[in-house]
Symmetry: none
Subunit: 190 residues, 4 copies
DNA sequence: TATGAATGAGGTTTCATTCAT
DNA sequence: AATGAATGAAACCTCATTCAT
């Protein structure tokens, strides 16, 4: 029993939340402000999300997934680890720079206490592919012996830093992206 | 001639803020909760800080400074860049792991909209020494041509990731710290 | 489609404000006290009035209008100026003596800094009819050459004084009212 | 045992209160603001006045007395009632126009709930001279039979209205004052 | 289901007054 | 006596959530 109209509303609320949070910060993002930005009534928001926290968690998981999907799109299946990581890196940064509000919102949600352990776990699972690729990338390299989660976090940190730098100062994105990728590769593979 | 304003009180408020924020998150850190935790009346807090925002900014700047001071303590002045960075790295991580609440609070403040541009500038100036050291470290290496601010951010990001990993899973800190330092060095100096 | 905003509620808030202000004074009239007196939740008050100041201004304008309407009710259209002013004067005093709380509230609001210039202007316009009547009353008399606004203010001042005197000491209202009207007429028409 | 230094302080606090109240309104006149304006510490204010209310009452009584003294200064003792009232009227208006802040403060205090019945009584007594003069002025006139207090209030109301008009629009003060006096005389003596 | 008014707990800040110095 | 920090009770207002329509 599909509810197409409902899905549109749900989506528009999530999009509005992204806009409001990225513009005014998480603290100032009232549910009423989100609802109004979505062109939806105050009460309707709570039809689609039981709780503000529910909404934030849903948004977090969805943005994370969207970012991962963008990164893995058109991955050259038969290429070697470096070429694949390279491809992914470029897609990743492209997504971040073309959706700065989503990126900024994600940064806010990442440190929010509203995001539950369950959501963090969900996201971690969706990063399985990423972990596999990193595993292959670091094989035989200096990072081979630390927990893979650490490699993931460090890679993510460099990616975040790069995204923020690119968004803040959009000049010469290619060179910056290139330099950052080489740095990541040195971190992983030596 | 009246009761003098007490540094102890001011400090205890800042410490209480650190505790409350790290325990409950920035959003849930009410001034009344901070005051109570500091063993001070609600109104007293506003004797020492005009505004909640003022308090948060002061806390941010102080924690940043404290972290930098801890990192640069006992720096071997005549050593080469790698040895100095190594020393600093180890002090840095030691500070973070022995003050997990300060570290967590700092992470929250870093993304808060309450932290003013002025505070960020103040902090940036206090990172001048760090920038100099990174400058010497990357000389001749693959990161020599990107803006120094980018090198700073990436180094900071790896440090943050390492700190969080160490705090979350405190096993084998030496090995992890060692691995992370080598990663940073590869990033900077190749 | 939702519960409509209720005029009854709005009115009951304004009435409660009148009661609280007249009983305890403007300074002591907390929004919470007004809401409670109106039998309405604290937050509801702010559904109907964005701000305490908004509420006070609305109350001021409404009371002024109500007073003017009461004064002009059943005005004998074809009578001469003196008869009309006489009629108005008696209605005016009757309103004030039968609504002492409104009268007292008005006196408080009149000197409040919360009442905006806009509200004062609104009220002034609603006194146009009054100004016209005074204009006709003073024609050829000793007050013919001062600004009409001055005649208005003086008349209003005598009225205020009379109202206060009648409310404070309600004995022989007719004689007092009569004496005051004759005084006003002497002021205007000589 | 004179306390000249203290008297100076007491006076400076009262003067500061006048300034602050006339500038910002009674509601916004915090004791700390008054103390600061007086160049005195917060706590000192409460050495001279037990309570904010005490201060306001003292200020009210003093300003009223000052106004009365100014009005009666140099009264031609042997002149007839009209000449004396004329003289008084002119002094009265002169005081108000040369001390607009005192006048404005008085207007605020007049309606404040902080002013006690006792203060009002004190003031009424100090108006005994005024009442006597009005008594002589209205003798044989149309106002001869109403309570003298009513004559006092009406006269005061016209005076207030005139003062406010003069302060708001200082053009042609002589003519306005003259017109107002004639109006008062018509009210009292017909 | 959609709406938006209703609710009331809770947040920040002010301020008269007290008290240690 | 003078000072100004300390106090805590309000005050105004916001906002997540509920509920009548």
């Amino acid at each position: 029993m599909a509810r197409p109209r409902s899905d549109i509303r749900r989506t528009s609320i999530l999009e509005a939340a992204t806009r409001v949070i990225s513009a005014q910060g998480l603290a100032a993002a009232a549910t009423s402000a989100i609802a109004k930005d979505a062109g939806v009534s105050n009460g309707s928001l709570f039809v689609y999300f039981d709780t503000k926290s529910t909404l934030l968690n849903a948004l977090y998981v969805q943005l994370k997934k969207e970012m991962a999907d963008a990164a893995f799109a058109d991955l050259p299946a038969s290429a070697d680890a470096r070429a694949q990581l390279r491809h992914l890196w470029s897609r990743w940064l492209a997504w971040a720079t073309s959706h700065p509000d989503k990126r900024r919102t994600l940064a806010q949600l990442e440190v929010s206490d509203d995001i539950s352990a369950e959501s963090h776990n969900l996201v971690r699972e969706s990063q399985r592919d990423m972990a596999d690729l990193l595993e292959r990338s670091r094989a035989g390299g200096p990072m081979a012996d630390v927990p893979i989660s650490f490699a993931l976090v460090v890679t993510g940190a460099i990616a975040d830093a790069t995204m923020d730098a690119l968004i803040r100062d959009p000049s010469a994105p290619e060179a910056r992206s290139e330099a950052a990728f080489e740095a990541v590769w040195r971190v992983l593979a030596g």
